[in-house]
């Protein structure tokens, strides 16, 4: 927050604990509102359906497995149901996850403005930056929830329909289920972090408009645009700067030893996007005329 740390220690201490408490109160109510909303629940259910549909389709089609082709890890599912989570993530990352994240992030400020509740949230004088932080934190929690839903639903349906056992990594080494569980959580963390840059972009766009659908659509279109640019080889100088460039790098967790480089690079990229678009959102929002 924008408090000066060094001037008067006791006053700041009480001021900070006060503002932290206010942040938590607002955050709790934001999370409650977000996850009680029918739309959020429907989106999480749709995300859970991704691995479930994949698993059922493979189970029904044949037990022989279909050679190469198809999304990543698909051919391994019949051998080990735990791979359903990974296929689910690989399928959801390009479209479904950005779609849901775009809806949540685009709705953050514009949704409140559209409902006419924004000005009530801003009654407290220092409330604007705090409201943005709370909104971003809420979107981040949704990213984590969405990713975990895919991983857990995939593991559950995979265990129900296919045999599970020690997992073969991309490097050909085999690890136990405990080791795999840690890696699955790391991959969920990776994908969650991957979506934070897009959340910050959505938050910024959301401060520009009072029409939430416009902010959502713009965010989703930007996610698609970034991936299209990322698929054009002639623009490879641009690729490292795209927030979507390392989205598929979560598979590096499945190497032996884990290739941490992409985790670091991805986190750095997303952090830069959060700082840039979060900062832009703050600059925009703190001087915005709130009329509704």
């Amino acid at each position: 927050m924008s408090l000066d740390d060094r001037t008067s220690a006791p006053a700041v201490a009480t001021g900070r604990s006060n503002s932290v408490a206010r942040f938590w109160n607002l955050f709790r109510s934001e999370i409650r509102v977000l996850f009680r909303r029918g739309r959020t629940i429907a989106m999480l259910a749709a995300l859970a359906a991704v691995p479930v549909l994949i698993a059922i389709a493979i189970r029904l089609s044949s037990s022989g497995g279909g050679g190469g082709g198809g999304p990543a890890f698909l051919a391994r599912i019949t051998e080990n149901g735990l791979f359903v989570s990974l296929t689910g993530l690989a399928v959801a990352i390009p479209l479904f996850l950005p779609l849901t994240v775009g809806v949540v992030a685009g709705d953050t400020i514009a949704g409140e403005a559209n409902l006419g509740t924004l000005r009530y949230l801003l009654i407290s004088p220092a409330g604007r930056i705090r409201l943005l932080l709370v909104k971003f934190a809420g979107a981040a929690v949704f990213c984590a929830a969405a990713t975990l839903v895919i991983v857990l639903a995939g593991a559950a349906i995979g265990a129900a329909l296919f045999p599970i056992g020690p997992v073969t990594l991309l490097s050909g080494d085999t690890v136990g289920i405990g080791d795999y569980a840690i890696r699955a959580l790391l991959m969920a963390a990776y994908v969650t972090i991957s979506m934070l840059g897009l959340s910050a972009i959505g938050l910024f766009i959301s401060t520009l408009t009072t029409v939430p659908v416009g902010a959502m659509a713009t965010t989703v279109v930007l996610a698609a645009l970034a991936q299209i640019l990322g698929a054009i080889p002639q623009l490879d100088w641009l690729h490292p700067f795209l927030f979507s460039d390392r989205w598929l790098g979560f598979a590096d967790i499945m190497r032996q030893p884990i290739a941490w480089q992409s985790f670091q690079d991805n986190t750095l990229t997303q952090a830069v996007y959060i700082v840039v678009f979060g900062g832009a959102a703050m600059l925009r929002f703190r001087s915005k005329d709130v009329l509704s």
């Binding site: 990543a72 051919a75 598929l248 900062g279 001087s287």
Partner: protein
């Protein structure tokens, strides 16, 4: 927290930020590699001493990341094709010659090493632990095993794994002779290490090779980067370089490979291969390729019943499919008709397949091959 400003002044406030922020990003992205590339100062050494120090690095243990890029002027072959065997070897080898790859290298001594080619959602491995050599391809879930127990030589001449900087430098050293100028360049910093850089320039104009550079770690003598430049091309035609390296012994468990359950394991016995009909020493065609020219402009000529037979075999393989893996189709796509045959011209190497079945190869322009073929 000024809540009472007009929309116009608010736009003024955040618009510059939106412009400045990306500019800062770009500047940072450019400045970071630049500052890392400032030339370090090292005690002076002659080119011969630097190249000789490479030999002292054979016992080094390290793990590192390697990036390899080629721009040979070949069309890009997607690495995401279906992973088959047999006829795919050709496209697999060609795939490594196009585009760029990220690798990880683990070396735990002269006879323990592991190289990983990191593909998207896939990985190719070659693991050597003493006499056992394993390869594993996660895309096809196939492993091969070669035991070198009573087989002399490296034997691991696998086309599926690109060479490490050490391999390439060693190969390059054999061509350093009186045909080349060898010079010590400005020192470089590679993967956080200070390194000497030696540039080898062919004296003749007849070759496609413009120059070749090796960067050698000042402390250990390990080649950290190899770059081959082609004449008339700005980007290096071939470059393999460490992006990070750690000179501590890798985990020994990395070299103890056993194929995963469910993988297809292909056991190759090198001793049997020798008594086989297809063994190399029995092939009269390959006994002595005739060479013309000398040094960098050497042209090798192979009376090539051998390659024709190989092409026929891969054409007849059940692999089928007229995709990029199809050897003959790809050959037609890659080569262009010239007088007396078909030629493949890359930035560094030209290949001429004559109509009467000979193959001419050399680091020279196609014209020189055509001239040599009619001689």
């Amino acid at each position: 927290m000024n809540d009472s400003s007009s929309p116009r002044s608010s736009r003024k406030r955040w618009l510059p930020f939106a412009v400045v922020a990306p500019a800062v990003l770009v500047a940072a992205a450019v400045a970071v590699p630049l500052s890392a590339g400032a030339a370090p100062s090292l005690p002076e050494k002659s080119a011969a001493d630097i190249l000789a120090s490479i030999a002292g690095s054979s016992g080094a243990v390290y793990s590192g990341s390697v990036s390899q890029t080629s721009s040979l002027g070949l069309p890009e072959i997607p690495s995401t094709g279906s992973g088959g065997s047999g006829g795919d070897d050709l496209s697999g080898a060609l795939e490594l010659l196009t585009g760029s790859h990220d690798l990880r290298v683990f070396v735990g001594g002269p006879e323990r090493s592991r190289v990983q080619v990191l593909d998207t959602f896939a990985e190719r491995n070659i693991i050597r632990d003493g006499d056992d050599v394993w390869t594993y391809d996660s895309k096809s879930n196939e492993a091969t095993h070669v035991s070198l127990a009573d087989h002399e030589g490296s034997g691991s001449d696998d086309a599926g794994t690109p060479p490490t900087p050490v391999d390439v430098a060693n190969r390059l050293l054999t061509s350093v002779d009186r045909t080349s100028d060898v010079a010590v360049d400005e020192n470089v910093r590679i993967a956080g290490r200070s390194a000497y850089r030696v540039t080898i320039t062919p004296r003749t104009d007849a070759t496609l090779v413009g120059s070749a550079s090796i960067s050698v770690d000042a402390e250990t003598g390990l080649p950290l980067s190899v770059e081959i430049d082609a004449r008339g091309q700005n980007d290096p035609a071939f470059e393999v370089t460490f992006t990070s390296i750690d000179f501590s012994a890798p985990d020994a468990g990395l070299f103890a490979f056993s194929p995963p359950a469910g993988a297809t394991v292909d056991e190759i016995d090198p001793t049997k291969l020798r008594h086989d009909g297809s063994s190399l020493s029995d092939e009269p065609e390959l006994t002595a390729p005739t060479t013309t020219g000398e040094g960098w402009a050497t042209i090798a000529e192979i009376p090539a019943a051998k390659w024709a037979a190989q092409l026929d075999a891969s054409e007849a393989s059940p692999d089928g499919g007229s995709g990029p893996g199809d050897a003959t189709g790809m050959l037609d796509e890659l080569t262009t008709p010239v007088a007396g045959g078909r030629a493949l011209q890359t930035a560094l190497v030209s290949v001429l397949l004559t109509d009467d079945g000979r193959v001419l190869v050399g680091a020279v322009p196609v014209d020189a091959l055509v001239a040599a073929a009619t001689r």
